[in-house]
Assembly symmetry: C3
Homo-oligomer: 160 residues x 3
């Protein structure tokens, strides 16, 4: 019996990047889904793994070079300190609009039932161990497992 | 009654980046959808907002550093002027293949019925006001609103 | 008759970037799909085309600048040689975990039935010809063709 009719039931978000703006995008999309009663799961892979790596998750940066939209001259964007400045500016703006910082945001996502998966292949590539990760991470899984988790009516995937 | 059978009815495109190549990718995907009779909506968020910011949409750049595929030595890519050069080259190639420039492309998308949404959170973060935006923008909406717009059979989401 | 019930039948992956980490992400997702009995197709567009360009596919690089997650000081990331170093490091790690290099990976994808499509618009923009491309590429198609290929129950799209 088909009774879904296009209701969104679950967002499966693949986070492959470790830049602050992409991590926030993934977290905001997952959190926004939960606020609409939609399930959400995040699969941390490649550099996205840094967002759940205990020693790195507080040190994520905004990309200043390679991101012309920052409106910094490229040479300036490349100077030591500019990335830190852009990062601190973004964090300040985020705070003003009541956006939690990454560690707190992870707690919120975890508490609201967002499943957090670490990609096995990326773990192997970076030599990370499960104990290096934020304790709210549900498990280390393969891409195949991710596809199994993604089966079902009303599931949408996003690659961030 | 389920009668969709996998027909694509609507593309929901989240544009989070302000680099020329990503903005074009989103616009081409939306425009291509319309040409196939598929609805399309673009949700401009984070740096993607620049593509509908009146004062910025004519000054989007190609990313030269952080984009090894440009085949510029990185140091060269970082030199003042190189980003402008790559941008001007891309614009020329785009013109040759009859791709409209960003302002004209926005008009085409708007005229063909593509809905253009600005993300409220990003508006707040960058202190943008509705009147700063291209007048074809339909509204400023939340992530929750975006999910509501995305409900329905045959809807696909893309994160650019 | 609706009998899909959310089974994933096909992954349609749009690869728009030419950085090694993004190409690998797309290939791993396509390959992982095939291993689960899921069809997979990759649409190479914009800089993603480089991953199937005969003369370029062996020279893809990791983005070191514009990628703060690399944990290289930005100035250092911009130095000649650093991108090559990061690339060679990533390749070594990939080899350790038995990940094939790009040319071999393309052969594996092709042999396992992953359809490889080159985007016509990007071909025109870069002045590439069909004979410049890896011979396993199935065809050069338009965005409209891509949407036609994407119709059907259980199809998911990803934009990498």
């Amino acid at each position: 019996m088909h009774e879904n009719n296009g209701v969104i039931k679950k967002m499966m978000i693949i986070l492959s990047k470790g830049t602050l703006e992409n991590v926030y995008a993934a977290f905001v999309l997952a959190n926004g889904a939960r606020m609409e009663g939609i399930d959400a799961e995040i699969f941390f892979t490649f550099f996205g793994l840094e967002a759940v790596h205990k020693k790195k998750l507080e040190h994520l940066h905004v990309a200043t070079v390679g991101n012309p939209a920052m409106h910094l001259p490229t040479m300036l964007g490349g100077l030591p300190g500019m990335e830190a400045l852009a990062t601190s500016m973004m964090k300040k703006e985020m705070e003003k609009i009541d956006m939690p910082e990454i560690p707190e945001f992870l707690d919120i996502l975890s508490a609201s039932g967002v499943k957090l998966w670490a990609c096995k292949l990326a773990m192997d590539m970076f030599h990370y161990k499960k104990e290096d990760l934020y304790e709210g991470v549900d498990d280390v899984i393969t891409v195949g497992d991710f596809y199994k988790e993604s089966a079902g009516e009303g599931v949408h995937m996003l690659f961030v």
